[in-house]
Amino acid sequence: MIQLLKIEWLKIKNYNAFIILSSFFALGVVAVNYVAFSVYKNMISEVNAAKMMSSFSPYDFDRTWHTTSYFAGCILLLPGLLIIMLVTNEFTYRTHRQNIIDGWSRKQFIEVKIVLAIIAALASTALVILTALVFGLASGTSFSLEGFSFTGIFFLKALTYNMVALLISVLIRRTGFATGMFFIYMGFENFVSQLLDIWSIKLRRDNTIDLGSMGDYLPMNAADGLLTFPDNPVKSLARGVLPTDYTSVVMVLCAAYLVLFCWWSYNRIIKTDL
C-alpha cells in the first residue's frame, strides 16, 4: 500500500487544484474559527462590561475541541470536492484504464482511492486538532482533553463527506456532473433531514413514540447531528421534545453508511467495464 500511495503522491503533488483546494481548506479552518473566536471574544467582553454573565468563551478548554470541530465541519465540502477532482480526473484522462493496463489490479486502483479518502479525513482532523489547540491556548485556559472525542466525530464527518464524494465520482465519472451531484445530494439530504425531524416531533406528539431525531439517520447528517451545537435552535427543540439519547444508533448508522459507500465504490470498479 505504501508503494501505491507513493504513486498517488506522484500524481497529485504537482496538481494545482490539489494545492489550491488544500490550502483553501487549511486557511478556511483557521479563518472561520478565528472569526468565531474574535466575535465571541468581543461579544463576551461587552457582556462582561455589563456584568450580565461570567467569563465564557467557546474556545476555552474543554469547549475548543467541539467548537473548532463544528466550525471546520462547515467547510468540509472542500476536501470532498478535492476527492471528486482527483478521482474524476482519472476517468477524464482515462488514466484509470492506463493504470490497470500498466500493471495495477482493479482492486489496487480502488483501494488506494479509499485509503486516500481516509488520509484526507485524517489530515483534516489533524488540522482541526492543531487549530483547536492553538485557539484553546489563546483563550488563556489550562489544557484539557475533555471533549476531545468531538474531534473523533469530526473525523467521522470528514470521512463520510469524502466517501460520498468518492462514490459519486466512481458512479458519475465526469467532474462537472459529479460536483453538481455532490451539491444537489447535500441539499436534498438536508431537506429530507428537516422533514424527518419534523416527522419525529409529530410522532412523539401524536403517538408518544420517541425515535430520536430521524434527520440524523441520513448519511451526511449522521456525524453532523452529533457535532451540532446543543444551542442550535432546531436541534434543541428536537432534543427537548425527544429526550431519548440515540447517539449510539447514529454512530452505528454512520459506520454502516461508510461501509456501504466503500463496498459500493469497490464493487463498481471491480465488476464493470472501465
Binding site: Q3, K6, I7, L10, K11, N14, Y15, N16, N89, Y93, R94, T95, R97, Q98, N99, I100, I101, D102, G103, W104, S105, R106, Q108, K271, T272, D273, L274
Partner: protein
C-alpha cells in the same frame, strides 16, 4: 510458448455482439496483426485482455498462465488513445508508469529519445500535439524493455515521417526478438510489418495464422513480351502453375506459395524464342484478400 491465447471470447453490449467466439493464439517472437475495419472488435478484444473490459464469455491466457496484474506489467501496452495526466510533463507521467510497472526510472530519458521527445520532455502533456501524445504513449510501452508489446492503431494521427519512424521502430523491436501484437485497420501497415495476422469482421474471427498463408494463397508472376501471342502459346505448355489470366496486357501465372522459380520461367521463355520485357513476382495484395475475406 504462446504469448497470448484467446479462447472463444465473447463480448456483448446489450444486443450488440462486439466479439463473437474469437479463438486464436499469438506465438512468441511474432509480429501479430489484428486486422479489421472500424468497429470490428479489435480494441474490445485488447481491452478484455488488459482487464479493463469484462468478457461476456470465453477466456484467455497470457504467457500460458491465468492473467493478472503481474502478467500485464511484463507487457508494454498502448490501447486506443494516449492516456496521461494532462497537468504533468512527459517525464513525470513516465515516472508514474515506471512505478506502476515496478521498474526503475533509469530508462525514461532513453525511451523519450527513442521517440524523439527529448526536447519536450519537461512540457506538460496538455501542450502536446496529437502525434507527440501518440509517441509518448509508445515511449511509455518501451519502459523497462518488455518482451511483449501491444499497440492499438500505433500510427493514428501521425504524419508520414512519424508513421515511417514507428514502422521502423516496430521492425527494430522485432529484430530484437520481441513479440508485438498490433491492431490496425490499415491493410498496408499490417502487410508491411506483420508475420501473423488475425482478421476480424463484426466481432467474428474470419481467419488467423501466418501472413503468407492467410493473405497470399498464390504467388503471382506477371510476364510481358513484345509478342504476347507467341508468349501465350509457349506458356500454355509450361507446367507448375494453377491458373493463368490476362491482365493489363500482361500474363498472370498463379503458383502455389513458395513454388515459383523465376529463373526457370525466364530460361524457358528465352529457349522457346520469347524475350521477356517485363517480369514481376507479386503476392496477392492484402487489400484484395481482405475484401475477399470480409465480403
Amino acid at each position: 510458448m504462446s504469448i497470448l491465447s484467446v479462447d472463444n471470447l465473447c463480448k456483448n453490449y446489450g444486443a450488440v455482439q462486439a466479439l463473437n467466439g474469437v479463438t486464436f493464439s499469438v506465438p512468441k517472437g511474432s509480429v501479430f496483426g489484428i486486422l479489421g475495419p472500424n468497429g470490428s472488435g479489435k480494441t474490445t478484444m485488447l481491452g478484455i485482455i488488459m482487464d479493463i473490459l469484462k468478457p461476456t464469455a470465453g477466456s484467455y491466457t497470457l504467457f500460458d498462465t491465468t492473467p493478472d496484474e503481474n502478467s500485464r506489467r511484463k507487457i508494454g501496452t498502448f490501447l486506443e488513445t494516449p492516456n496521461f495526466y494532462h497537468y504533468l510533463s512527459a517525464v513525470r507521467n513516465l515516472k508514474i508508469t515506471a512505478a506502476i510497472k515496478q521498474r526503475g526510472d533509469e530508462d525514461i530519458l532513453q525511451v523519450l529519445e527513442t521517440v524523439n521527445l527529448t526536447e519536450r520532455k519537461d512540457s506538460r502533456f496538455s501542450t502536446y500535439s496529437l502525434g507527440m501524445k501518440q509517441r509518448l504513449a509508445i515511449a511509455s510501452c518501451l519502459l523497462g524493455n518488455p518482451d511483449v508489446l501491444i499497440f492499438d492503431e500505433p500510427t493514428n494521427g501521425l504524419d508520414p515521417v512519424g508513421i515511417a519512424e514507428i514502422r521502423e521502430l516496430i521492425k527494430q523491436l522485432r529484430q530484437q526478438g520481441k513479440t508485438i501484437i498490433m491492431a490496425s485497420h490499415l491493410l498496408d501497415e499490417v502487410e508491411k510489418v506483420c508475420t501473423h495476422v488475425a482478421i476480424l469482421k463484426k466481432g467474428k474471427l474470419i481467419a488467423a495464422g501466418d501472413v503468407n498463408e492467410i493473405l497470399a494463397n498464390d504467388d503471382i508472376v506477371e510476364l510481358g513480351a513484345p509478342d504476347m501471342e507467341k508468349l501465350k502459346n509457349i506458356i500454355g505448355r509450361l507446367t507448375g502453375y494453377n491458373d493463368i489470366k490476362e491482365h493489363d496486357n500482361l500474363l498472370q501465372l498463379f503458383y502455389p506459395v513458395g513454388t515459383t522459380n523465376l529463373e526457370s520461367i525466364n530460361r524457358y521463355c528465352f529457349e522457346n524464342g520469347v524475350v521477356l520485357n517485363y517480369m514481376q513476382l507479386k503476392k496477392k495484395s492484402l487489400e484484395s484478400k481482405f475484401f475477399e475475406l470480409t465480403n
